[in-house]
């Protein structure tokens, strides 16, 4: 199956939303206007934006620590996300979790977790619910997280139980400085699917069309009750953490080329196909900026939590 024009423009729009938001996050962090632990997905925008065309709004989405793009792409509350980055009471987790614990259950999205790999097990649990309720789970993590044992336990269990889960690996060949050469055996993460006799494939993770065609094939397989699949998307992340960005502008200049940048590349493609025009590009970019501005305004005008708020919600009812 292929993406139609409208879908592709939606994807493009989401990529722009994520890009502008993540850039702003880096910028504001550098200025000291926002604080905390933040892991941008700059350079990887194609994956979340495309997956949003693969799952339904009420399907489940469970990601690892680098979940901001997925949160946005699923249509989770963008204002609340920005309020969270500003540590406000109106934040998606009331200003408690910060960027690495973004979640929005009204959109079935658990897009934060900071113990790398643990989300694979949680996604597998979500799979039991999805199986009962006729939904699917899309589970996403970095290639580094596939070296945790829980990845293996999860794939094995999901396969035996024929759980409806698409396991997606964002392969950026980087784990806090280490490359796969130093840490990871096997030529491709997708090969790990062979261990369980489930479908596995590697696609160009900077190309929405490539991601989509394999992902939608796998989702059909999954929805038909045949169990999980493993999709590896090759991409590149431009920055590990907001605190690691030294000279972001230079980096961005260098990589804003169709070879490295999934957005620039998608623009070339959309233009060649006559889908994207100057006017449309401008409109899309404006739209992204407007959304961002609205979210920033919402966040900045939101109240800070009261110090004592941090004592609530340890349990669902006071004990």
């Amino acid at each position: 199956m292929m993406l139609d024009m409208e879908d592709r423009l939606d994807i493009y729009q989401k990529m722009l939303q994520i890009r502008s938001s993540e850039l702003k996050m880096c910028e504001l962090f550098k200025k000291g206007e926002i604080v905390g632990h933040m892991l941008p997905c700059l350079g990887q925008e194609a994956i979340p934006s495309t997956l949003a065309k693969v799952y339904a709004p009420d399907d489940y989405l469970v990601t690892a620590h680098r979940g901001g793009g997925h949160y946005m792409a699923k249509g989770c509350d963008f204002n609340a996300m920005w309020a969270e980055l500003y540590g406000r009471a109106t934040g998606t987790t009331k200003g408690r979790g910060g960027q690495i614990h973004l979640m929005d259950m009204s959109h079935f999205a658990m897009t934060g977790n900071a113990v790398v790999g643990q989300h694979w097990g949680i996604a597998t649990g979500a799979g039991f619910v999805a199986r009962k309720r006729g939904k699917i789970v899309v589970a996403v993590g970095g290639e580094g997280s596939t070296n945790r044992g829980i990845f293996h336990e999860s794939l094995n269990m999901a396969t035996v139980q024929k759980l409806p889960i698409l396991y997606v690996v964002e392969f950026n060949n980087n784990q806090m400085g280490n490359t796969c050469e130093e840490t990871t055996a096997g030529t491709r993460i997708a090969n790990r699917a062979f261990a369980y006799d489930i479908p596995g494939a590697t696609v160009d993770g900077n190309d929405p069309d490539a991601i989509y065609s394999k992902a939608i094939e796998y989702v059909d397989h999954i929805r038909s009750g045949k169990g999980p699949c493993l999709l590896e998307c090759i991409t590149g992340k431009w920055t590990d953490s907001v605190s690691n960005i030294r000279q972001l502008p230079e980096v961005l200049e260098k990589i804003k080329s169709p070879e490295n940048d999934c957005i620039a590349r998608f623009e070339v493609k959309l233009r060649a196909e006559g889908i994207l025009t100057d006017a449309l590009e401008k409109a899309c970019k404006n739209r992204a900026q407007e959304m961002l501005q609205a979210a920033l305004t919402f966040a900045q005008n939101s109240p800070l939590p009261n110090p004592s708020d941090g004592m609530d919600d340890v349990f669902s009812q006071p004990v």
């Binding site: 408690r96 259950m105 597998t124 649990g125 039991f128 336990e153 139980q161 669902s316 004990v319």
Partner: protein, 325 residues
């Protein structure tokens, strides 16, 4: 009322809750089939409810824990089993970092209603990897509740409460208790989490205990009665959050405390209870707060050696005599 074994009371609680709510499901190793759980707790439930609701898994404790969290977060009520207590460290992150923080870190928006059952094999000759004491593992974990019933009545009532609770609950079973019998009502009932139970009233000494040590305490109380010492037996039932008011009231009454727990002494559940008393009830105390607990030694696979490091009536009585001095 009917008289039943604890193993049957636990199974009855599982069965009732599975009938009551179709989102309740069981997951663990060898729960179904011939095995029916290592201690036959889940025997027959797979036949009644099918394999989608009594899920046998691979030896994958971390995934079992992950499933508990994920399935709970997305709205079901998993009751998972970790075959035995010594294996709980394999699921420590899923308990401490995931289940324990989820409600909080989601801004109170995601509940995590899962129950993690496990069986302690204390007082059995299976060595340190089977018979380790793990009751204190989550006392230092915000967001986690843990219960350890001593009677069939409490076990059934606490398990039903735990399954309906919207927070993660560790449910501790003890192999020597499975065959202990007791009265259980015919009609439905629940035992609250966080409430201790005075299993015997007394006025000279309070024994704070739970699970296996409740029996030791009651028998010791009986014997001490003959020596003219009146012993109150306070069964915590819930290890965390423990019942501070009940402890305070009893200590104020007796002024003497012995805490008996079948775990390693140092850093055990009883250490927390003793610290609470030293902090908040010290004015009522007329004797040191004694802890009767296992020695800080890995559990050997040899009855001669076990005898020497574990506890029972003798150690409890000893401690009562000391606080009465």
């Amino acid at each position: 009322m009917k008289n039943m074994k604890m193993v049957d009371a636990i199974r009855e609680a599982l069965r009732e809750e599975m009938l009551h709510d179709e989102d309740v499901f069981l997951l663990g190793e060898a729960l179904g089939g011939v095995q029916g759980g290592s201690f036959r707790v889940t025997k027959g439930l797979d036949e009644e409810f099918g394999k989608a609701r009594v899920v046998d898994t691979a030896i994958s404790e971390a995934a079992i824990g992950g499933v508990a969290v994920g399935a709970a977060a997305y709205g079901m009520r998993p009751v998972v089993e970790i075959m035995f207590g010594s294996l709980m460290p394999l699921v420590a992150d899923e308990i401490h970092n995931q289940a324990g923080t989820l409600h909080y870190v989601s801004g109170g928006k995601i509940n995590c209603p899962c129950v993690i059952r496990t069986c302690n094999w204390m007082r059995i000759i299976s060595g340190p990897h089977h018979c380790g004491n793990i009751d204190a593992l989550w006392v230092n974990s915000p967001g986690i509740k843990a219960v350890a019933p001593s009677t069939p009545y409490d076990a059934k009532g606490l398990l039903k409460t735990a399954i309906r609770d919207n927070d993660p609950v560790i449910f501790l079973e003890y192999s020597p208790l499975y065959t202990k019998t007791g009265d259980v009502p015919e009609e439905e009932y629940f035992v609250p989490i966080g409430k201790a139970d005075i299993k015997r009233e007394g006025k000279d000494v309070t024994i704070i205990c739970y699970a296996t040590t409740v029996g030791d305490a009651l028998e010791s109380a009986e014997l001490m009665e003959k020596e003219g010492v009146s012993v109150e037996v306070l069964d915590l039932r819930t290890i965390i959050p423990y019942d501070k008011e009940a402890i305070r009231a009893s200590v104020e009454k007796t002024g003497r405390v012995v805490i008996a727990y079948e775990g390693y002494k140092t850093g055990g559940v009883g250490s927390e209870i003793a610290a609470f008393i030293a902090e908040e009830c010290i004015d009522s105390l007329i004797a040191p707060v004694l802890r009767v607990a296992c020695k800080d030694v890995p559990n050997p696979s040899n009855s001669i050696l076990i005898e020497n490091i574990s506890i029972g009536k003798r150690e409890v009585i000893d401690a009562i005599r000391r606080v009465m001095e």
